[in-house]
């Protein structure tokens, strides 16, 4: 196990480097330059050229990349070309907001998904199993932004219960304020994500319920509740962890669309704005963080797998 973890960590830096090269190449393939954004709408080519020279944007692409990488290795993430703020600070300011949203969204996802998954997994042909299946299919087909817009229309505009434009209120400063501003985007994510998770729970549970050890547990006189809790669910949730881990990883990387719909000041919206403004150093920094989070979470999921199921050996 230790060797596996060390090997995976060893892959960390090369994967990150490769990702930065790919992102850098994609950025320069895109039309539009940050100098144009900085110079304003009616800038002359002379003004744009002056800005490019000032920020080194007139250098060859590979040299710009190596310069950025050199600074990164010295702990300097650079500054935003657009607003001059330190990239590390901009990302650091947004990460707690995204983490709070991701954690709440995942908690809601599990609260919704596990009971629904159990309902479908245990009694797929019952009326409530069919009803739940219908809900899951609908939820899966509905995009997050559409769910978000409906929630805003109902809960914010019509009922005025919750804000339509969310702020980041840290949970540790004001739990009520944090919930008030985060619950709506979290719910929009959860309503969609829970359909995926619930299907995993349902299919795993359905499979586990036909295994020998379940029959044995029943033969030993265990109640259906005990069979479900102690034997079926523990085994059925192991594959579910993979999907939950991946979902959490993508949420921590910024739920871009949801953050934009709810004007939530997280990493996803930061990245969206940076791409729109061709803010190269900010895009690179943000993508680096997103990829790092994803890799670490993937590794954690693998390790968790081994802990939950001692039969799994990575070595």
């Amino acid at each position: 196990m230790r060797a596996y973890v060390i090997r995976r960590l060893g892959q960390f830096i090369p994967v990150l480097l490769l990702a930065t090269i790919i992102v850098w190449a994609m950025l320069f393939a895109l039309p539009g330059s940050p100098a144009q954004v900085l110079a304003g709408e009616d800038a002359t080519p002379e003004q744009i050229a002056a800005i490019e020279a000032r920020y080194g944007l007139d250098q060859p692409v590979w040299l710009q990349y190596l310069t950025w990488l050199g600074h990164l290795f010295q702990g300097d993430w650079g500054t935003s070309l657009v607003n001059g703020h330190a990239v590390a600070q901009l990302i650091g300011d947004r990460l707690p907001a995204t983490a709070q949203l991701a954690v709440l969204a995942m908690a809601l996802t599990l609260v919704i998904a596990v009971p629904l998954g159990i309902a479908v997994g245990l009694h797929p042909r019952s009326w409530y199993g069919r009803l739940t299946n219908g809900f899951l299919a609908t939820g899966l087909a509905a995009p997050t932004f559409w769910i978000g817009l409906l929630l805003i229309l109902l809960l914010s505009v019509k009922l005025n219960w919750l804000p339509a434009a969310s702020r980041f209120v840290p949970f540790w400063e004001s739990p009520v304020g944090a919930l008030r501003h985060t619950i709506l985007p979290a719910l929009a994510i959860a309503l969609h994500a829970s359909t995926v998770t619930a299907r995993f729970v349902a299919s795993s549970l359905s499979e586990v319920m036909h295994r020998d050890f379940i029959r044995t547990a029943r033969a030993k006189g265990a109640s259906e509740g005990t069979v479900l809790r102690r034997h079926a669910l523990r085994n059925a949730l192991v594959p579910t962890i993979t999907v939950v881990g991946l979902q959490l990883g993508s949420l921590l990387g910024g739920a871009v669309v949801t953050e934009v719909v709810f004007a939530y000041p997280g990493l996803g919206r930061l990245l969206f704005t940076a791409i729109d403004g061709r803010d190269f150093s900010l895009i690179q920094g943000s993508v680096l963080v997103v990829i790092a989070i994803f890799i670490v979470l993937n590794l954690l999921v693998d390790v968790l797998y081994a802990f939950l199921d001692p039969r799994i050996r990575f070595d």
Binding site: L30, P31, G32, S33, P34, Q36, V37, L38, A39, G40, E41, D42, A43, T44, P45, E46, Q47, I48, A50, R54, S80, V82, N83, G84, H85, L90, D93, R94, I152, L153, S156, V157, N160, L162, P163, A164, A165, R167, F168, V260, V261, A263, P265, R269, L270, F272, T273, D276, G277, R278
Partner: protein, 520 residues
């Protein structure tokens, strides 16, 4: 030792200056615009307002007139003068000014005031500002409007003397003054102003979270007595106009700024609406004279007659906006409404020049910024009309940076987008990319000689009668060459909660919050 004021001073200039002085007391009673929601309630000091916008500021540099920067331009900064809705100058930081009889120089007396950091405003700050404005590398939006200034010197602690290369008409001088932001000299550099403002406007910076919100606090030492009323102003950057509207409806913000015409009907019964200024944004259709088929003037003239402006205003902007034939907005001294008929939508009239353009491929692709969705709707209407006269128009939608690059590189056959013309003088529009004499992506080296000559003549015209004649001739040339055609004024409405009064905007749509107050 300060230099004496110029001995030769025109009667008009002195009267203008005195007239302007007479207006000073009125500043406390009304804003430069009269279109804001008025109220009979007595103004009270204190309180806060939260305003939502779709786009966000790019920097604190007022030399960058990008529309995202509008919230901070007339809040953090002051200008030498302001324009009323009909482009009449009223003093701001310039308390008095005198223009020499020969129109080759002027002297500006600055108001006694301080910057937000407490340091006094001096003539050197203006001199530094003019020098930066004239530097093509750093002057950004200011370079064009200061091009006629030869030198700026401090003629006293608060007296600035400007000399011009040639005689300059009054309109150009006022245009420079109205759009010249007063920035602290020692901080007047693009890098410094990215993160830290350096102005003397009615509000000072409290905090700024990029991509989230800008919080301003009342500047205690603002020059206008007892202004502004509000203690704090918060601009929330919400990513889109729709998000700003929904936030307003949900009560998250007190106002939603710079919206689309389609929002007007939805909000007008519940909120006070301040429509955008006609010159702030004008939708234009530009044609590249260097690329076929628009290298043929007949094709350009044909397309200019095939723009159903009234239908676009009605169906795309829901009636908010006015048809225009060129870059001159209604209210501008250069606007001639007779062109709305003589150069208006007429498919039969469009077909005639198209028939003359024999052997030309009648198809083109039009680049647009897809974020401004009205562009696509306008072009869909044009597509339909053009198809009926045998011209095939396709739409090439790109994101903002991509569209700007394609346009600026001169690779676009044609381009539809909005740009501003909030100038009093007819030739102010030459700072607009589509009408530039140099570095014009659609004209490049093929700037029509007649256009160049007409601009020079309008610039050289000094007396009002000569200015009128030159402007008329300039319009005729623009209408004949048809390289950029006006479509309609994009009068972006703002919706404000009825708890507030006195919200206003400048002729370029910069929010003006000096007179805004919350009712008890």
């Amino acid at each position: 030792m300060p230099e004496p004021l110029l001995p030769a001073v025109s009667r008009r200039a002195v009267l203008g200056s005195l007239g302007a002085l007479a207006v000073v007391p009125l500043l406390g009673a009304c804003g430069p615009e009269s279109t804001g929601p008025g109220g009979e309630a007595t103004p009270t000091s204190g309180g806060a307002i939260v305003l939502g916008r779709g786009d966000e500021i790019a920097s604190f540099d007022p030399y960058n007139h990008a529309s995202g920067n509008f919230p901070m331009l007339n809040t953090l900064y002051s200008y030498l003068i302001r324009y009323t809705a009909d482009y009449q100058p009223i003093p701001d930081i310039a308390e008095r000014w005198t223009i020499a009889e020969d129109r080759r120089s002027m002297t500006i007396e600055l108001r006694e005031t301080t910057f937000h950091d407490g340091s006094p405003l001096t003539a050197d700050d203006i001199v530094t500002g003019v020098k930066r404005a004239k530097d093509p590398g750093t002057g950004l939006s200011q370079t064009s409007s200061t091009s006629f200034i030869e030198s700026a010197t401090a003629a006293g602690a608060r007296t600035v003397k400007l000399t011009f290369g040639d005689a300059v008409n009054e309109d150009r001088i006022f245009d420079f003054m109205a759009w010249f932001p007063v920035v602290q000299g020692k901080a007047n550099q693009p890098d410094s102003l990215k993160k830290t403002p350096a102005g003397c406007g009615p509000y000072a910076l409290e905090s700024y979270q990029p991509g989230n919100e800008l919080v301003l606090r009342r500047f205690e030492h603002y020059w206008e007595p007892d202004r502004p009323y509000l203690d704090t102003v918060t601009f929330r950057f919400l990513g889109s106009k729709d998000s700003a509207v929904v936030a307003l409806e949900a009560g998250d913000v007190d106002g939603a700024l710079a919206l689309d015409g389609r929002h007007y009907a939805r909000l007008k019964d519940r909120f006070d609406i301040v429509t955008g200024a006609p010159g702030a944004l004008i939708v234009q259709f530009s044609m590249n004279v260097n690329l076929p088929p628009f290298d043929n003037k007949y094709v350009r003239q044909a397309l200019a007659r095939a723009i159903n402006r009234d239908r676009m205003v009605e169906q795309v902007q829901f009636g908010v906006g006015q048809a225009v034939y060129s870059i001159f907005p209604p209210g501008s001294p250069a606007f001639d409404k007779t062109y709305l008929d003589s150069a208006g939508f007429d498919l039969q009239a469009a077909k005639a020049p198209l028939d003359k353009a024999s052997g030309v491929s009648l198809k083109a692709s039009c680049v647009i910024n897809q974020i401004a969705e009205y562009n696509a709707r306008n072009l869909e209407i044009m597509q339909e009309d053009l198809a009926s006269i045998g011209f095939e128009l396709t739409i090439d939608a790109k994101d903002a940076a991509g569209a700007a690059e394609t346009y600026q590189s001169g690779k676009a056959q044609c381009y539809m987008g909005a740009s501003s013309n909030s100038f009093r003088g007819a030739t102010g529009m030459t700072s607009n990319t589509a009408f530039r004499l140099a570095n014009n992506p659609m004209l490049k080296d093929n700037v029509p000689a007649a256009y160049r000559a007409a601009v020079a003549k309008a610039d050289a015209a000094i007396e009002p009668a000569a200015v009128t004649t030159a402007t008329k001739e300039l319009t005729e040339v623009i209408m004949d060459e048809c390289f950029a055609v006006g479509v309609y004024t994009l009068e972006q409405p703002s919706a404000i909660s009825r708890e507030f009064h006195g919200y206003d905007r400048m002729v370029a749509d910069h929010p003006l919050l000096t007179q805004t107050y919350r009712t008890a």
